[in-house]
């Protein structure tokens, strides 16, 4: 029981920090320099609000004292009001339909100390009956006389909501952006001031408002659930959510100029609700958006981040999203593309004619169909491509190069082009008996190996073709080999293949080989296989990342550094580097040759859940629990500066499950539990469009090898195939009428494949553009949650 002494303000009063001016030319901070104006205006205003009781007087007094004007807590009117939580647990819930007139008579109140004193005396004398009666009497007195502490909060928020309602339809949504953060801050204030019961009423009153539910709260359901559970001061102090909401920056709101002026008028000039003004000044940052008010739909799409939208300034730095120009891998791929087009198997027009004249090393990797369609001009050096030396990348070894040339010649020449008339075939791998046991899946680039990470900390590697998994020979045998032999790499491996290649087992349902990798001591959450299938990375709940050799089938290095479960790990597109992210709120960059971290990217108070490497190996994209996507640069920042993300994107309403860069590196595609597939332009961090269609969480995604087809797998037991190339082409031609808006599924969706009871957790296009789906079969008796939902 807390009889908090009324004079002491809350120790960690968030409003106590006067706002430090960060204002740039187009950012208007509802500023500290207007405070003087405020204190002047209030007394005049008071005449209009006579019925608004003595509480406001209390506040006004404090506000008008210049030193404490902004630093005092909102609790200032609580001098004589007594926290009633302890006494009246069954307080009547407040009906917020009308604002009753309140008459306060403070003289009748018994000060809290005296009440406690009397009570103590009575208790000491064992006068139990008297205690009861006294309590009851006090309570009735109290209920009658004091207005509740939360009243100004209700009044203020109701006032603001009705103000929003008054606005014209065209700009109403701009104002409604403020409702959610205001609501949260008010609620947290109420709880922090030990008014738990009133805070609950406050919460219920607004969250159960169906009108608000549909508009304002829709994007923040996940956080509302968190807020709901914060019922005491202590819990707030512990909560990570509050940390990231209150102390991780300001809530960023973008408004058009006209709306901002109106808002300024309402909040600063009129000062009808000083409470609102205070919260806005303490926690909000308003940014002027060029031009007129944005579309309501666009605004709704971009909302959802824990701290509102993204500062425009944050996305202005240059990002080199083009592909690497001169790397061997690029060259080989390019070379093969020409080869294939000249043989005529690949009928992508233009490539064969345009390219042979240009010198080989100037050619850029262009796997993207829509780019290849373009004129010669685009074949020039991409100005957005980073220097090859920007991030040092190891060259390919000679035998790797030969391998690549061989395999690519074979596979890419037979690559299918997927068009609306020529839809991809899909081979589906269903993992049986693995429900609740299998956590993650990974398939090798050439689609021959499948790695399965289990809850019981083991990793299985399966061969998906009919070859046996190869193993390197023992050192003693290796020594005897002739090192000058050109087939040295083949000779290094034990070759059981020849014996078993007869395939006595023709049943395709049986796997031919599997390996178990043991070493972790917690559930595996992420796996990544290197391009040449030599290495496998795994990350686990035991805070470590392990590098496994897929030749000797043993653990090579254990990378330690994370201090919480590691959620994802991924190899860079050229190997060598890899990145990991963890619940310790960091993403880290590593290199397989060093046991130490190369870079640490910290993300305030948010867990980082998934990541994805940019195809040029210069950037990584992460998604964190505040539902904001961030792109980080691998290049070291300047001395002493903290690593800041180069791009940030807000718009997802729930956790993001999967991120992918488009094959040309320009677009980032993200999808997750909120069923939205969002496509972002990396050049400026803006949203291209949002594809809707799935009816449940989206778990997996892949782009076809030519980059023109997007494929998503979801928990609604379906795989959807989208014409991504067409979408980007339309966008470039300016024909996309749903720019920054929701694109309905009918427009770019080509086909839906349904599975029986398997939610696809991994989707993969093979080099020949055959679609592979992987998923764990969900036994029917586990469908209870599913059934109730539908």
């Amino acid at each position: 029981m807390h009889f908090s002494s009324p004079t002491s303000s809350s120790p960690q009063n968030p409003i106590s920090n006067p706002t430090n001016s960060l204002s740039t030319n187009n950012v208007l901070l509802l500023p500290s320099n207007t405070t003087s104006k405020m204190s002047f205006i209030i007394p005049n205003n008071n005449t209009n609000n006579n019925n608004n009781s003595s509480q406001q007087q209390q506040q006004q007094q404090i506000i008008s004292t210049p030193t404490s004007g902004l630093t005092t807590s909102i609790n200032s009117n609580g001098i004589n009001s007594i926290s009633n939580v302890s006494l009246s647990s069954g307080q009547t819930t407040q009906q917020r339909l009308s604002f009753p007139q309140r008459t306060t008579s403070q003289s009748q109140q018994i000060p809290q100390e005296e009440f406690a004193k009397i009570l103590r005396v009575l208790q000491e004398n064992n006068m139990t009956e008297s205690v009861e009666i006294f309590k009851k009497e006090y309570q009735s007195l109290f209920n009658k006389t004091t207005s509740s502490f939360s009243e100004p909060y209700f009044t203020a928020l109701d006032g603001y909501i009705s103000y929003v309602q008054e606005q014209p339809d065209t700009s109403r949504h701009e104002f409604s952006q403020l409702i959610y953060p205001l609501f949260v801050h008010m609620y947290l204030d109420l709880v922090e001031k030990d008014h738990a019961q009133e805070a609950q009423d406050f919460f219920k009153n607004y969250v159960q408002n169906t009108n608000l539910q549909a508009t304002v709260f829709a994007a923040h359901k996940d956080d509302l659930f968190r807020i709901k559970s914060l019922v005491t001061k202590e819990l707030i102090a512990q909560s990570e959510y509050v940390k990231s909401f209150r102390h991780n920056g300001r809530y960023w709101i973008k408004l058009c100029n006209a709306s901002l002026e109106l808002l300024d008028q309402f909040l600063i000039k009129q000062q009808k609700y000083p409470l609102l003004t205070k919260i806005v000044q303490a926690y909000f940052q308003l940014e002027i958006n060029d031009g007129s008010a944005r579309n309501a739909e666009t605004q709704r799409l971009l909302s959802g981040g824990r701290l509102g939208e993204i500062k425009t300034e944050d996305n202005t730095n240059r990002m080199y999203y083009g592909l690497l120009r001169d790397h061997d891998l690029t060259r080989i791929l390019q070379h093969k593309a020409i080869l294939s087009s000249s043989t005529g198997a690949d009928n992508e027009d233009g490539v064969g004619d345009d390219q042979p004249s240009t010198s080989k090393n100037r050619k850029k990797l262009k796997k993207d169909f829509f780019n290849q369609r373009q004129s010669k001009a685009s074949l020039k050096v991409d100005p957005n491509a980073p220097q090859l030396t920007r991030i040092p990348i190891p060259e390919l070894r000679e035998h790797e190069r030969m391998d690549l040339i061989n395999t690519f010649q074979e596979d890419y020449s037979r690559m299918l082009k997927i068009t609306p008339d020529n839809l991809p075939s899909c081979c589906y791998y269903t993992l049986l008996n693995g429900y609740l046991e299998i956590n993650c899946l990974e398939v090798s680039e050439d689609s021959t190996l499948l790695a399965v990470g289990c809850k019981n900390s083991s990793i299985y590697v399966y061969s998906l073709n009919r070859r046996k998994l190869i193993t390197m020979k023992l050192p003693s045998e290796l020594e005897r080999l002739d090192k000058s032999n050109e087939h040295i790499y083949e000779q290094m491996m034990t070759n059981d293949d020849s014996k078993d290649n007869t395939n006595q087992n023709n049943d395709s349902d049986i796997l031919y080989n599997q390996r178990l990798l043991c070493g972790h001591t917690g559930p595996i959450y992420g796996l990544s296989m290197s391009r040449e299938k030599w290495f496998l990375l795994s990350c686990s709940e035991d805070y470590t990342i392990r590098l496994w050799s897929l030749l000797t089938w043993s653990c090579l290095i254990t990378f330690r550094g994370h201090t919480q479960p590691v959620f994802d790990v991924q190899f860079g597109p050229f190997g060598h580097y890899f990145a990991s992210c963890s619940l310790d709120k960091t993403a880290r960059l590593w290199c397989i040759e060093h046991a130490q971290t190369l870079r640490i990217y910290t993300d305030g108070c948010n867990d980082i859940e998934t990541l994805c490497f940019h195809p040029n190996s210069n950037y990584i994209a992460t998604s964190s629990s505040d539902r904001i996507l961030k792109i980080w640069d691998l290049l070291e920042s300047k001395e002493g500066q903290q690593m800041k993300p180069i791009r940030q994107m807000s718009g997802h309403k729930l956790n993001v499950c999967i991120l992918k860069f488009s094959k040309d590196g320009r677009y980032l595609i993200s999808a997750g539990y909120d069923r939205q597939i969002m496509i972002w332009d990396c050049s400026n961090g803006s949203l291209v469009t949002c594809l809707l269609g799935h009816s449940d969480a989206i778990f997996s995604m892949d782009l076809s090898r030519d980059g023109s087809i997007l494929c998503t797998g979801s928990a609604d037991f379906s795989i959807r195939i989208w014409n991504f190339g067409q979408l980007i082409k339309d966008k470039d031609d300016g024909k996309l009428d749903t720019l920054q808006r929701v694109t309905p599924s009918a427009k770019y969706e080509l086909v839906t494949y349904r599975t029986k009871r398997t939610s696809t957790t991994l989707i993969h296009f093979t080099r020949r553009n055959l679609l592979l789906g992987f998923g764990v079969f969900i036994p029917p008796n586990d469908s209870t949650t599913k059934a109730t939902k539908t």
Partner: protein, 462 residues
């Protein structure tokens, strides 16, 4: 557990009493109300935080349902010792509710912590070995079209429904695939809707119940309803199990009812019983051949059941012999084998005889004619036996009836005149030869019509 549900669900809150009880049981009886209230809030808050953390793991593992392991992981993350051993068994909470007397009869939940006997644990059968993960591949789509194979979901369309009704096994096998694949043999893959379950219950109750009116309706429904293919396996199972049980209890009436159900199923045009013959035939054959079908074999009319069942049997053979190779031969062989084993009582022989005769002209010619001689010898032998029971006498009468009912018409159509009594004696033995001779000659004089009573009249059975 999805987020939308979480937002709507009532907020988790521990009851005040539980905390008090825990405090009491930890020797902290003197806590004030306020401190307990505070503790309640605090504990609730911690558990909520843990749940939120657990949700992170659930989401990371791409599940839509939180499991206890997620909660354990969340506890580990906060450096708490995970509670081991709390698993949901069959979806039930491992708690039981009791009232604590000392606490003013409040409901308290506690863990059901019963003592285990060591020898029981040792002698208990080994639990099932958890199955290893296996991978199954199939074509989800070929060039944009999803092939209609078991692994792919059914696309519900009219065409599919009709094939379903023609061959319910198809959908059944579709469902069963997953079972076979995961090698779970015990659980049942066949889901019935509530309506179907009710229908099944009502129908089966009506069919074996006491009200004839209801039974008529139920039988009528079974023979005309078009949407029965989903519960057909159940009904067939009901029949076959029902026959098994009632055969042992000599429950003639029920057996007759079950046969009528079978008949109704066969009559139903929309049903296709082919896949259930392995269950239906044994049931029917049992009704034909059983040594005893009722409590008082000499008094009760079990003959009617045998006749009815054999006509059903013949009907089924006729219906399905086209699609099932060798069905007729197999059935006939069973009858013949029964007939030739001399240890069996005469009633069984009667059954076999009727069963064969019902098969029609061809069978009678080929198979019944040769055995009449042995039958006659056997009857002569048993008549000579001084200890001939009343039962056997009736049986012999019945057999004679059957012989005279089926054989002469068959003979008349198969052999042409003239009839020779010696020839008859030679073919059918001394016992039946002369008799048949007279009957055949009598019939030859009648016009050739209405002479083939292949079916027992229904009236005997109703």
């Amino acid at each position: 557990m999805t987020t939308t549900e979480q937002a709507k669900a009532p907020i988790l809150h521990f009851p005040y009493q539980s905390i008090q009880f825990i405090a009491d049981s930890n020797q902290c009886q003197h806590l004030t109300d306020d401190s307990i209230k505070y503790l309640t809030l605090e504990v609730t808050g911690i558990v909520r935080f843990l749940l939120q953390d657990a949700l992170k793991f659930t989401r990371k593992c791409r599940r839509t349902k939180m499991i206890t392991d997620d909660f354990e992981s969340a506890m580990k993350m906060r450096y708490l010792e995970p509670i081991v051993g709390f698993r949901l068994s069959n979806g039930n909470l491992p708690f039981k509710t009791t009232t604590a007397a000392g606490l003013g009869h409040r409901e308290v939940q506690c863990i059901d912590d019963h003592e285990l006997q060591l020898d029981q644990v040792i002698t208990a059968p080994m639990p099932k070995i958890p199955l290893d993960v296996s991978i199954r591949t199939h074509w989800l789509a070929i060039e944009g079209k999803q092939p209609t194979i078991n692994e792919n979901p059914e696309i519900i369309s009219k065409a599919d429904l009709t094939t379903d009704s023609l061959d319910p096994m198809k959908s059944l096998t579709k469902k069963r695939y997953n079972l076979d694949a995961s090698k779970i043999k015990t659980s049942n893959p066949h889901e019935l809707s509530l309506e179907q379950q009710i229908y099944y219950k009502e129908i089966t109750e009506a069919c074996v119940g006491s009200e004839e009116q209801k039974r008529q309706e139920a039988i009528g429904s079974l023979s005309t309803e078009t949407g029965l293919h989903q519960i057909l396996p159940r009904i067939v199972l009901f029949i076959s199990e029902g026959v098994k049980v009632n055969l042992m209890q000599y429950n003639l009436a029920i057996l007759i009812y079950l046969m009528r159900m079978t008949s109704a199923l066969l009559e139903n045009k929309s049903l296709y019983c082919e896949k259930y013959l392995h269950q239906l035939f044994p049931a029917i054959m049992s009704c034909i051949l059983a040594k005893q079908l009722c409590v008082r074999p000499d008094a009760d009319n079990h003959w009617a059941l045998r006749d009815y069942a054999s006509s059903r049997c013949a009907q089924m053979v006729k219906m399905f012999s086209a699609s099932i190779h060798g069905l007729r031969n197999r059935i006939v062989r069973i009858f013949l084998r029964t007939f030739h084993s001399e240890r069996l009582p005469l009633v069984t022989h009667y059954g076999a005889l009727v069963g064969l005769c019902e098969m029609g002209q061809e069978t009678i010619e080929e198979l019944v004619f040769p055995i009449i001689r042995t039958l006659g010898d056997r009857i002569v032998k048993s008549v000579e036996n001084p200890s001939l029971s009343q039962m056997d006498k009736t049986t012999i009468d019945r057999i004679n009836g059957v012989i005279s009912k089926y054989i002469p018409p068959a003979y008349r159509t198969s052999r042409s005149t003239p009839d020779d009594i010696e020839h008859f004696k030679q073919e059918f033995g001394n016992f039946y030869g002369p008799r048949l001779y007279t009957q055949v000659t009598q019939q030859r004089q009648q016009p050739r019509s209405t002479t083939q009573p292949t079916q027992v009249s229904e009236s005997t059975i109703y």
